[in-house]
Each structure stands twice: as C-alpha cells, then as structure tokens.
C-alpha cells in the first residue's frame, strides 16, 4: 500500500516572474505535474492593435526586463519583413553586437545568480559569495561587461532606447566603441574560467530514454551561430522558413496556466534555448568556443538538461569572442537607418532570445497601423517539455528525502531559465480567437 505524495512549490524562487509547481506522485509513478504560471496577463497583443508599427519595439520590450533586446530585435525584423527592407551588413553587425551583450548579461545572471546556487546547495548568489567570493565576483564582472555593450549601443541596460525599425537612431563612431575592447577581453578570459568552473559542478545525471527523446528547435543560418536570422530547423528534420511558423506550430490552451503551451502540430512538445542552438549549430561556434568544449571534454551534442549551465557558459564565451570580432571589423554604417514606407502587409520574424526562439508576427494597414499581433516567447514553447522532464525524472529520485526532491524539481525547472513574465501575455489572444 503506497500513499500518494505531493510536491508543492507555491512560488518558485530564482526565476523571472511568478510560477508554481504541483506534482502528485507515489511509488507507482507520477500522476500529475503542473507548472502553473500565475503571473497576471498583461494583454500586449491587444493593446498593440491600433498602435503605429514604429512603436512595436519599445512597447514589446516591456514584456520582459531581462531580455528586452530580444523583443526589440524580433519586432524590428518582423516589421522590416512586412515592409520589404533588408538591414545593410553594417547595421546587421551592430545589431549582432547588441544581441551579444544581452546574451552575456542574461546568461551570466542565470548561471551565477539563479542556477549555480542549486548545484552547490545555496539559497542565493549572495549566500554563495560568503564561501566563494571570487566566483560570484566573476559572475558580476561578466554580467557588467554584457550590460556595458547594451548600454553603449542601446542607451541603457533595461529597455534600451536606440533601436528602431530600419536600424538605429544613432550609430557610434569607431572610437566610441574602443573603450569596450579591454572590458570584453577581460570578460572573454573570465568566460573561459567560467566554462572550466561550471564543468566541475556536481551535475545530476539525467537522460531521457530514446522513445522520449527531445526534439530540439532553433534557428540555423549558413554563415553564423543563430541570433537574428535563419530558418527554423529541428533535430527531427524540421526545416522551414519563419513565415511557416504558424502552420507548423500551434498553441494549446491548458487550464492550469496563464500561458499557452506551444507544440509542433501532430508531434507535440519541443525544446528551444541554448541547448537547442548548440546541438543544431555546434560547427558555427567560434573556434575558441569549440576548442574549450573539447578541452573540458564536453560533446557537441548534449541531452542532459542539467548540463544546460555548461552550454550557457559556452554561449557566453562565444558571445564575447564574437563581440570582439565585431569590434575589430566595425565600420560605421553610412546611414543610421534604412527608410521605409508603410504598406498594408504582414511580417514575420524569429530571433534567438537568450532563452530560445522568439516569434513575432504583425499585420499592418496601409498607414502602418498594427491590426494584428502575435508573439510566442521561448518559455511557453518549453513549458510542456519542462513538465515532461519532471514526469520522467521523479521516478528515478523517489529514494530522496522530500525536501531534496523538491529542490531537485526546482533545479530541473531552472534548467530552462524560464522567464515567466514573458510567457504570460497570451490570454487576450486566446480569448479573441474564441469570441
């Protein structure tokens, strides 16, 4: 006779936003797993309607204070797709530099302040700093370097003000970028130390059996590690243009959460984020990054989500390395932005937010007023995969004490760096579909 037990976490700590976990299990197995998102809906898609297309980057940035650049980039690329303009190579390079900054600050925040405390048994980075001051200071130094890029190009770290449809309001002179160089060089060294350090963390061994294998989904581009452009590909052979997103993926309404679950039609859950990018684009990482992976004996394909902290550290190294290359080759764009003319149209874009694929779609009327908006953030795409992980994982850990098992579940959720603030603005869209 086995009694049913329940793991309840009413308010998950060290994630962005408000979420809860409910797991019901006994010795026979796991009966119920619910990752509840109780963050209140904010209705972004609704109030974007009627706004001018040029306002979308600044409005959608407010969906997330952790990854505002990602929202600005997806919004801008979608508008440019609608209006048929292409950024010049110089403008595209500057955007990439800005995005490197956001990847660095967001990943450093997650590695050192949100995730590493799980591996070493601390409640927070501040507590960890009492025993490991050098490690936490290194994390803060990395984060600061990422923020320095975003501040310089964007004006400020949170909700930058300098990007616009077509390009930037103001582009820097080459000499203005030079002060970044030393900081980024030091940061790259600190990133190498970080890769070595995270590879020594005690890491739970978890791998799904073949019948439950993940489908990893990320952008892919022939010339670069994916950020702003490319096709959407997967480890199960998906290979589509971004404008085919809606026919390939669908959002399912699930009762217990304020975010919709995104699935591949007729196939189910999938996995976006650093591990998906890494597994699908390893050969496009910089040589230094690939060498470091080899140096710590980390394979080019990773199936253990607890090791996402290692993948994130490799992406931080890649971002520093690439940012330095972009600085070396910087040529100030002739024009800060490309002029566009509004037209009745629909535009699509997906970019790689730190947490994974971020899809935007907008319809405009002939004056450039937004008539329809759809935004699919990474966390709602990973939500089902997170729940499935817990369902498959818990039976192996039944010998653990309850407190330990709860911690392990929380750590498993943090593997995905869920951004719950991002995931919760779907409600209105769903309601409108039904009405």
């Amino acid at each position: 006779m086995t009694s049913t037990r329940v793991i309840k976490v009413d308010y998950l700590a060290r994630v962005e936003g408000e979420g809860a976990l409910f797991v019901q299990y006994d010795d026979a197995g796991v009966h119920d797993v619910k990752l509840k998102i109780f963050e209140p809906p904010r209705f972004f898609e609704a109030f974007l309607r009627g706004r001018d297309y040029r306002e979308a980057p600044d409005i959608t940035a407010r969906i997330c204070g952790i990854c505002p650049v990602a929202y600005q980039m997806s919004a801008i690329h979608a508008m440019e797709n609608a209006l048929g303009i292409e950024p010049t190579p110089e403008l595209a390079a500057l955007r990439r530099l800005l995005y490197c900054g956001e990847w660095i600050e967001s990943h450093a925040l997650h590695i050192f302040m949100l995730h590493a405390p799980d591996f070493l048994g601390y409640e927070s980075a501040v507590a960890m700093a009492r025993d490991h001051p050098g490690i936490v200071e290194r994390g803060l130094e990395l984060k600061k370097a990422g923020n320095a890029i975003v501040s310089l190009l964007g004006g400020r770290e949170v909700h930058p003000i300098n990007v616009r449809v077509g390009g930037f309001y103001r582009v820097p002179e080459a000499r203005e970028l030079q002060p970044l160089r030393q900081q980024l060089q030091r940061g790259r060294d600190a990133a190498i130390d970080t890769v070595r350090w995270v590879s020594t963390l005690p890491c739970p061994k978890f791998q799904r059996q073949q019948q439950h294998d993940y489908e990893f989904v990320a952008l892919q581009h022939p010339d670069e590690y994916p950020m702003n452009r490319g096709r959407i590909v997967s480890t199960a052979g998906l290979d589509i243009a971004v404008w085919d997103y809606d026919v390939t993926f669908e959002e399912q309404h699930v009762q217990h959460t304020n975010a919709l679950h995104s699935v591949i039609r007729q196939r189910g859950a999938y996995f976006v984020g650093p591990m998906a990018r890494y597994n699908l684009n390893f050969d496009r990482l910089t040589a230094l990054t690939r060498d470091m992976a080899a140096d710590i004996g980390f394979p080019p394909f990773c199936r253990n989500p607890f090791q996402s902290i290692i993948v994130r550290s490799l992406e931080v190294l890649h971002a520093f390395d690439e940012a330095l290359q972009l600085l070396d080759h910087y040529r100030k764009p002739d024009q800060p932005w490309t002029e566009e003319t509004p037209a009745a149209s629909t535009g699509y874009a997906a970019t790689e937010a730190p947490r994974g694929l971020l899809y935007h779609r907008y319809s405009l009327d002939e004056t450039g007023t937004i008539t329809d908006a759809k935004i699919v953030p990474p966390t709602s795409q990973n939500q089902k995969t997170i729940e499935d992980d817990l369902r498959l994982m818990i039976p192996r850990y039944l010998s653990m004490a309850e407190e330990q098992l709860r911690s392990r579940c929380e750590q498993a959720i943090r593997n995905y760096d869920p951004c719950i603030s991002c995931a919760t603005h779907f409600l209105q869209l769903h309601l409108e579909k039904r009405s």
């Binding site: 700590a13 060290r14 209140p40 925040l109 048994g121 927070s124 984060k143």
Partner: protein, 305 residues
Amino acid sequence: MTEVGMVETSGIEASTAIEPPPKLAVWKFTSCDGCQLSLLDCEDELLALAQKVDIAYFMEATSRQVAGPYDLSLVEGSITTPDEAERIQQVRRQSRTLVTIGACASAGGIQALRNFADVEEFTRLVYAHPEYISTLSTSTPISAHVPVDFELQGCPINKRQLLEVISAFLHRRQPQIPAHSVCIDCKLQGNVCVMVAHGTPCLGPVTHAGCGALCPGYHRGCYGCYGPKENANTAPLSHWWQTELGADRADLIAGFRNMNAAAPVFLRESLAVENGAATKANPVPEKSAPGPGQNPDAPLGKPGP
C-alpha cells in the same frame, strides 16, 4: 541535499551582537521584472549592499524567505488582480517604509492601456471565459490601494537613483531625486534640442528627469517613460506639437498613452485631446484621491460624456 548545511554555518559570522541589519524586501506585482533586475544590475554595489542590509525577501534572487516585518519594502508592478489587491495590503502592514519602483507600481504601467479599452467588449470577453474573471479590468498604481512613502518613477528606473533611495531610507532622510523635466537635463548635458532644431516631437518638457536625457542624446524625441514631472504643463506642449510640428490628435494621444498612460497628468491630457481639448469639462481625480472604500477596479480612463 547534504550541502544545505553550508548555508547554516555561513550565517554564523553575524555574531557581532550589535543592532541587526535592516531588513529589505522586494515584492513583485504585475510587471516585466526589469525594475527589480536593476538591483541585480548594481554589479559593483550588490555584495556591499548585501552586507549592509538583510535581503529578507527577494524571490527573483533568493529562495530564502524571512518573515516580516520589514524595514524597507521595494514594490514593483501594478495591481491587476483581486489577489494582488489583497496582497498589497499585507505587504503594507508588514513594511515600515514602502517605496514603489517603476512606472507600473507608480502609475499603473503600460498594462494600464487596458483602462482605455471598451469595457463592454472587455466584459464580454471575460464572461466568455469565466475562469479568467480574476483579472481586473484596470491596472492601478500601488498608491490607489495603500499609502506609499516614496515613488521612484521610470520605465525602467535608474539603478543609481534606486541606490540613492535605498541609502536615503536606511539613513532616514529624504531621497535626493530631482523632480524637474528632461529638458533641464538636456541643457545640463549640452544636448541640441531635437524639437527646436530638428522638429522631432519630444515629451521632454513635461517628463520627469532621471534617465539622463537619453533619447535626445541619441537623436530621438523623449517618449515619456519616466512619467510626468512635478507640475507638468501639458496643454502648451500639445499645442506646440500640433501647430509647429504638424502632429495630429492621434499622435498626441499615442504619445501620452504609453508606459505612464494612467499617470493623472498624462491621463488628463490624453483625454482632453481625445475630447477636443475640453480639459476642464473632464476632471480626473488626482492619484492621491482614492481612499478606503473606493473601488480600485473602477475604470480610470473612461472618456467623459
């Protein structure tokens, strides 16, 4: 995990039995997390701060939760659900000093754009899905629900100003946060005026300083993310936009209805423009007006008859 023991032992060093450090709490309501992130973005000061104060409740940064009361509560986000309206009362009861951080907590945030939505349409949507009825039809600032000791404006806040506010309240003095306009900061920085020189619409003359006059420095007009300055005079600016810059009413309404759409001064101006400049015919209650018994769910931005 066995490592948990390390946490226990590492706390012992606080044995200098003088006064316990003040307790800081950070609370989240409806928001994007960006303002509380500003605290973690203080990379050079964070660890020093953590030695001066006891970070007793800060869910984004730590799983440690120390019970109240708290000496200083920083509140991010606006009130958009009945549960939040209840929770803010609890937070106030546990907080000696309560400071709101950011446009959501201080003015309702960008989600207050729902306050302008057709309420009938909204209700129909809600009734179609009664399970979601727990969402209020308005987004309101913290001050509409409980007394607030200080409001730090900005979408997002400036992290230097946040440190100033924390420091001020820990030393029981008033924070030094200038309430003048973005224009003053532009002059101090020697920025060329984008409105006069380039004809770019700018909300700088009526917007609270604090960002460092960022947008004009990057050759764009201020879009008002810091909310209204003290004694902002919006009507002459609207007039200037229309007569000198060729802006139409839709431009003005969009300009004032952004991250601080429900801030009383901006709200009044957008309604005045919408209703044909009949400002005095459409009085809007001041933000300090709501008292006990006032329905926080009452629509803020309902156009006058």
